[in-house]
Symmetry: D2
Subunit: 353 residues, 4 copies
């Protein structure tokens, strides 16, 4: 169950970073949709390593191959199997990390939980897994073609956009490698990531996601509230430490008289502190939320840690890693958002007949 | 599915605030546990209305009656049915809100989604539902008797405890009605809530939860990470706008060299920015997280809104409502935490044989 | 999970035969349906004890009380909580069966599995539970008002109707207490049950169910085939030993050239060995299946068995029990059928938008 | 959801008979088990086409490739991805069946349900899918190494073994291509299948499965009874029309005084009409059940049918098909049995801590 997301539009995944392939199965995809395969690959390209100077320089083409569920270009309603070959599995020497627990990685907890671990490059805990999500999310996006999902980097370290997205030009998001729609801020963020990288260090950041033209009525009361499903999905991304929607944590400092969203005659609201969701159900206003990412744990520095035998060891961090995970996580946030919204669309739709 | 939480220890609930009763069914409760019914009622008392001057003055005894699954004081492994009679369903006149959509409530979205709504006191969207969670959580707490769960009010409006919980005395939490372990701060919070109430206004706040003595290995990789399950549960509470664990949003401003938690020889860590979870799995350190609550939407003020016919109307807010939801939400946060931890204990345990 | 049936229209239940009440929660019921409460009670009456001379003479009114999810007579989309008070819990002396394992009951397996059991009248393993299913099924029937479900007693012991249902008059099913549409056969069955009862013995039988006017397209491929869902539901009924649909076990003796159902021009088929389902999906023809019930294990005879201490003991069977479970199981088969069909209607409907 | 089986040990599958590959993901496999890959391939060989003169002469090596979840020969607790390449996808001309609905196939219902279908060789409805189940079942068998599962052909057409399995020598099952442990009967069955094939016809049959050394306590009350899970799984196999366990349909003709299984002092029973399950829970006796298969729908004869345009057409059946599905279905029944038993082992185990 741990490897599935969704109730009706459901992705189940497999794959280790250094196994032969990763992949997944999408169950519950509606039938009869013509897929744009270039658009799917384009989403994978937005996530893939080596795309710019501020991300890991590993090279992976990340080409998806569909194995089922699509016939003559259309979804058939059958489960969609797909895989992405791992081309970059060098027969590397892992003896240095084989028995070592890297700080703030999953090495220690996996070993404790399972009694063994695939130590090659993080194994199942690697963020390589998220490429699978991009595939399912790209399909969901195409099916929900009326809904517009815009995620962007809203902060890197202490460099932060103001909280409102109203003045932003979303068409600028892809104009720069950090995926920040404010180009001046983008350049500062890029400089910060570069200087951090130079020191062998890493840095955290946040992603904001704005969803427009979402229909009224998505989300189920009590335990499948729309924002709870979104939060669950976002908290599944490696390195995520927090999720807030609408007014979020800042909303906790406000008065009710400030925070309440008064109605317009047409059912829209004058303000939108609710973030497009009331009682767990979308109200037709923009849905927006913010996701916090911690700095990547892998440093290109020397550090002290322990090994399986419980001995202190000193390790030199090396390899090709992201100094900041946020730019490549933007399409991941979008993909999960699309998956959650399609799942809730199906759930909502089920009882309308 | 919308009314269930958990995979193996699973609570399913029903009930409207002004129906004859609310209640639930707990499926998957381990057999053979002697229950302390007084302790369960005590948890309900911590949540119930009318318990102090800073919460709603409604009177509800909130007495739970168990209907099955317990025999001679012990759990039998059968599903546990329970109910809490609604004693406070006055045959009140609801004509004023029957056709009105209150701002930032679920009135509008429920009506749009379902085509009708039970308008009496919020119906299914009422936070009265959370009394059901307290029951299941109280049972989970007893089964997980080794684990200590401490939730407390960490902020009201702008009055906020510092981020660390290390200097706090958890035994003081229940010493004051706002449930803040810092008694000086508690008094300021109480004053703020009282003055807010006097204006007919409401105010938000945050709850921090610290879990101690949690075993290593709870949490499943990828989509059932321990913090994702906790986040999902917390985001299910009425009025919650955000969830963060460990370093949280602040962690997004840090460098990797600051944020990484170096190991001690025994597998514990020197710092705990990870918040007790690495790779989605508990590492034996304290688990801690923070939950943001918006201000209650119901004001005792006059306000403008719309009705079902799409007309502008003016409404006078009245009734007995919480000026700040946070003090009564403390036991709710604990209950959900216990439920999630027991569910993950069962999941983890399933494959160990 | 063990106490829930269905994926989208989902019933979760609780209750022991001699606890204060049994009941359930229906999650996923579509909103806006006006319920006929008399029709629900009428279905309960068809199952209830004491209804005729050939069933148990226990008296239970089996009145259902709805606690939520219905407002002004209509379903609201919220979970529907309901309960049926156990009025017939005599403060009886159970010392004779408390430590005894009755043959072919669940006494032994429950005790082994859970370490303890509620020994009063079968506890959770009592068929009293099925009254809960009647409630959910009666609601499902009303929502699926176009579909006609006819279950009837097709055999008692060796007295058996011929395999085809084509010549039967379903309007006669309720004309006799054994619920067999062939009145001559019904009288023979009644005589057989009475003579069996006189000897303190019990006897098995079968129920056939015919569903008419079922839409094309219900059922999901691979693991949620319509007949697999029906089989799962029927095999959940106490005392059921087998399930077959369409040609069933007899079909295993046939040639393909005999068994294939040739198409008419309009898509219907000339024969219907398929039983209305092809590839797991309804094809619009009558769906029919047969369910086998073993004889009730409780005999009014003296028998030898063992107790918890592993000693041989002799027990005198007593009480008010059904000599044949089949007549009262007819509405149970119908109820489960309606629940499965509504669940599959919602599943099928989810992706049509 | 339609493409998954199991709650904790869960297989999700994909693949069409003439796509590039079929495959699956096993979620919830316990960690630390060394797998015998030859044994897995051996199970696949028992199912694969072309293995004897009485099955389809199609050639498929059916070699499974594992892509994840196994490291240095051991299961890691991560999801196990696998695939089986379809080597036999001839670029055949499907124009004859493209628009035709073959009788008693899924052509008509898939087209009606989804609006389109992959017409190449049955697409998703092909029994080729069952090769995926063999892989998961073979792994489950290895983990449940103490439990012995013996399935065998118990009838072909009207040639039927007597109901009891007590005198059978299970070691003879694999000694003949029809997989019947009674060699004399096996030869008669083989002759019957051959003569049926010669006429271009097909024939049905039954498989009996006996499970020995099953622990007491597997199975969950109410809706996850062990036999309901087994029935659900068996009814998922293509061509299955019925399932019975223990006394089955014959049990419905018996008296309670005949059918009750009296206890021995040690808790075993003198007879076993219960089939090893009481109240849905295994009692430690042999578990046995029988599965009915209809004759294969594809005949090598000329037949009349209709096409998508609703016109009558005449089609000449051709190709390489099984005259009787039963011999190749024996390992499928075993695989599903192993999967269900492992899933219930995990479910049972979850609450024991």
């Amino acid at each position: 169950m741990a490897n599935s997301l969704g109730k009706l539009f459901k992705l189940t995944t497999f794959g280790e970073s250094h196994g032969p392939a990763i992949g997944g199965i999408i169950d519950g995809c509606p039938a009869g949709y013509s897929l744009d395969f270039n658009a799917i690959q384009q989403e994978l390209n937005r996530r893939k390593p080596g795309q710019s100077a501020i991300v890991t320089q590993r090279k992976e083409p990340d080409e998806v191959k569909f194995l089922s569920g699509i016939f003559e270009g259309k979804t058939t309603g059958a489960s969609i199997g797909f895989q992405i070959i791992n081309t970059n599995q060098k027969s590397k020497d892992y003896s240095d990390i084989k028995d070592t627990f890297r700080p703030s990685h999953a090495d220690y907890t996996y070993t404790q939980k399972y009694g063994l671990r695939d130590y090659r490059g993080g194994g199942r805990s690697s963020a390589r897994e998220t490429a699978n999500w991009i595939v399912a999310g790209a399909i969901a996006k195409q099916i929900l073609s009326n809904i517009k999902i815009h995620a962007y980097t809203s902060s890197v370290g202490s460099l932060s956009l103001p909280n409102t997205y109203k003045s932003l030009d979303f068409s600028k998001i892809e104009s720069n490698p950090v995926r920040c729609p404010d180009v001046t801020m983008a350049n500062q963020m890029i400089d910060l990531i570069k200087s951090t990288k130079k020191k062998g260090d890493t840095i955290g950041g946040t992603i904001t996601c704005v969803v427009q033209h979402i229909p009224i009525g998505l989300g189920e009361p009590i335990f499948d509230k729309l924002h709870a499903s979104l939060g669950h999905a976002m908290l599944s991304i490696n390195a995520v430490k927090g999720f807030e929607y609408g007014s979020g944590f800042e909303g906790s400092t406000m008065l009710g008289s400030e925070h309440n969203d008064a109605f317009e005659i047409n059912g829209s609201t004058k303000t939108n502190y609710s973030g497009g969701i009331q009682g767990g159900i979308s109200n037709g206003m923009d849905l927006y939320f913010r996701v916090a990412f911690k700095p990547v744990a892998t440093l290109l520095q020397k550090y002290d840690t322990i090994n399986k035998a419980g001995e202190a060891v000193s390790v030199q961090g090396k390899g090709r890693h992201d100094p900041c995970v946020v730019p490549r996580a933007v399409p991941i946030v979008e993909a999960l958002t699309a998956m959650v919204l399609l799942d809730h669309t199906l759930l909502h739709n089920a009882t309308k007949f």
